[in-house]
Assembly symmetry: none
Homo-oligomer: 536 residues x 2
Amino acid sequence: MSRARVHLFDTTLRDGAQTAGVDFTLHDKIVVARLLDRLGVDYVEGGYPGANPTDTEFFAEKRTERARFTAFGMTKRAGRSADNDPGLRGVLAAEADACCFVAKTWDFHVTHALGVSLDENLRQIRETVRAAVAAGREAMIDCEHFFDGFKANPAYALACAHAAYEAGARWVVLCDTNGGTLPHEVTEIVAEAAHAVPGDHLGIHAHDDMGLAVANSLAAVLAGVRQIQGTLNGLGERCGNANLTTLIPTLKLKPDLAERFEIGVTDAGLASLTQLSRAFDELLNRPSNRYAPYVGANAFATKAGIHASAILKDPRTYEHVDPAAVGNRRRLLVSDQGGKSNLLAELARIGVEADKADPRLDALLAEVKAREAQGYSYEGAEASFALLAKRALGRVPDFFAVESFRVMVERRHNSLGERVTASEAVAKVRVDGDTLMSAAEGIGPVNALDLALRKDLGRYQPYIADLKLTDYKVRILNGGTEAVTRVLIESTDADGESWTTVGVSPNIIDASFQALVDSMVYKLLKAGAPAEGQPS
Amino acid sequence: MSRARVHLFDTTLRDGAQTAGVDFTLHDKIVVARLLDRLGVDYVEGGYPGANPTDTEFFAEKRTERARFTAFGMTKRAGRSADNDPGLRGVLAAEADACCFVAKTWDFHVTHALGVSLDENLRQIRETVRAAVAAGREAMIDCEHFFDGFKANPAYALACAHAAYEAGARWVVLCDTNGGTLPHEVTEIVAEAAHAVPGDHLGIHAHDDMGLAVANSLAAVLAGVRQIQGTLNGLGERCGNANLTTLIPTLKLKPDLAERFEIGVTDAGLASLTQLSRAFDELLNRPSNRYAPYVGANAFATKAGIHASAILKDPRTYEHVDPAAVGNRRRLLVSDQGGKSNLLAELARIGVEADKADPRLDALLAEVKAREAQGYSYEGAEASFALLAKRALGRVPDFFAVESFRVMVERRHNSLGERVTASEAVAKVRVDGDTLMSAAEGIGPVNALDLALRKDLGRYQPYIADLKLTDYKVRILNGGTEAVTRVLIESTDADGESWTTVGVSPNIIDASFQALVDSMVYKLLKAGAPAEGQPS
């Protein structure tokens, strides 16, 4: 039996941008579009060109290679021709392969919110689709409130879907805008919709207000729909959209679905999913959900001793899929042995060779556990982890030592009577027996400290000349008065390599200092700088 | 049509205790059992008496008033009589109304993991149920791996279920132990199981490894099952169990389900759900999931201006249920994407009266937008928003002015040769014409600044004496060298009120300073402190 192709439509950058607390910059959008393109989704909806400067600039050029780059907009307004509607013109001017327009399909909304006649709304849908097709774009219509609209007036909801299809829309997407539709209702209503629009032109857009967005998406596919709209990590307004990070492995790994349906994500794409999910959370600067299906840190964690020993005999006893298939790993929380094999696997992965029998590995494992208990996290800071491991194995020479530093922030009135805040730092560094003292001003205390530390490293200065800080993240652990601060610093150099280091302390300046020094040492090691006292 | 009674079985204290990072004390268990009892679940499974001292002590007395207090255990071992099995004896000795025994129903597990014959396993199930009934307990059997077992050997899985029922089990619970079963498979397999055991004796126990635990529980109920096992906030091994906090409102509020099924939770119990969910997270000392269905802080939050104005006209347009029904509330985010209607609604909610026609509101909206563009976010900082609004409306008097401050962090060797990092701050504050200068040391620069600012506020000192910092959060916006820092500070006072303030600056100390001062001014306003120059 040939498998039906199911298309994945990602709306992280549009509906996901509606999430409370989420605010994508242009740079964020470019990075996310690249991630999605590499993952293998079919459509990347990038935003609403014309609605705000960020989205307009994002659509100044095509941002995907494989995926169809999609602009979102509204159907044209009543009383204007398509040519004469500035909103529609903005969307069609975007450098996009496809356009997705939201249209009302609930009669009550049409007459009360839009304030137009039911016929006029159908006309708007048709004309908008035709204008997009005429402009050479693949057209689709998001049928807002389709399921609620169907319950209120089935004939009208179907008429809207049919109008879009008939006018040439490639996709007619059934939206459960409020997230209040149950899976068995989705099954029934999709079956009805398939009389108005062929299934291979239907899409589903589900929200998670009852924790059912993934189930509703699957129910729709089983009922004949061939496009799923969703987001990375389930981002989206209120409780979020259907989580593609969950749906992708389910569609690829569950035999009953994989035999019937095919998606554009390859096995390699699937294996990158855990890393991609966490990188996305890093970009949002929020902690990853440990309990997330497939990609969460706990998704394959087993605490019960009896389950753990069964898993060691045969993983299928308590694992429904292989964690490696999604790039995740098994965690047996009771087994120290498991800890060491995890450590060895991790060292191998980052290219640190170690003999399994080396007793220094036990000390390293104890050190990692102790530091993680303090708040260090090496999952996102591999450069610091590599340094820690190499130090334990005696492979990091002494280069320089920071004897002391002082950072000062002052807010005062300047000579013009303006309020200014000044930051300056002084650092004393010992290199080959000499003490070098440097001072610098910065835009903040960490910037000043960074500049002072890197201002004069004596004969090591040439090795770090191309070192650049590219990102700085702070997370407060615990909170309250016993707060501990974790700082992550990302650095890069002329090779284009980038690496991340971590520091932890109750004092944010101290935590930043640790991460800055780790980054400098990592760079010296990488550049092959000679050890202290050794000739260059 | 009379409604079918669906029984809720809570396993937060048993399967929920398998969550990585969760460790209930005896006191925790007593508190949670009381919460659940008050909520109105039918069964509270408290743990495994005999397996560890906490659980044994917990079962020394009955811990619920209304709910049936339930002990968990394993079916008796092979080669022993029920009387002679210490595990079983421990469970039956517990002060419990009901006992739930886990039994294997997947033939492969019976022969390979248990190492007994298929017939022997059936005998163990029967004898265990009979022993529990003879001891005066309501008996139930958790059929481990029932769905996987059914796929491998349907006749044997059904024989296990039937054996339990025939021996007198009140409930036979079908467990998707690995969380790998799809909703349509649940529907089909439950229909088969109902031939072996009547539906009103069947239960469902689902795990969330594919984000489908809630959907699978509903599918089972629609297929005839009458008991649902789940946990508060979806706690549980790996990705968690079916989330009762989600299922309860769905069963009570969705017309299509509420017309057919009845549960033991009253409307008042439902209205306590948000508070209960957050209290439970507090007990676990973890942040609440903002995106949780029904009870999350964002569950009824709307950012898009067009949605917000529709909600103000008629909430049903973008809300599938009334937030008050679950004890939650609507939030219209004052944001870049929102408009004046959001602003007015938000002012009304926080108790700031304003005339819709007041021209100062336009200036306020422009100010909010300009500040949000700089990185301020008022979604989580209502106290700063209230101050901003009241200032725009001329309702915040001058109290004090910070003339200057200086913060210093120094890392050096102390007199014992140890490396120490010291932080100190000096602040100059002007109150009623006097300049007051204070200095303080802290564990970090922000702590030092906070202490120095609040050390001497002259005649305002008594008003802020009970002000306490309870949380401090930092977010770096943009990243890289143009990073802007957003600081959120949560404060509280003797009244128990807590409020959050925000500060934004490229300099983290400066951002913290803004949030600290906002918190102090908020407290002075709240305490009714007199304006500068006015008599106390």
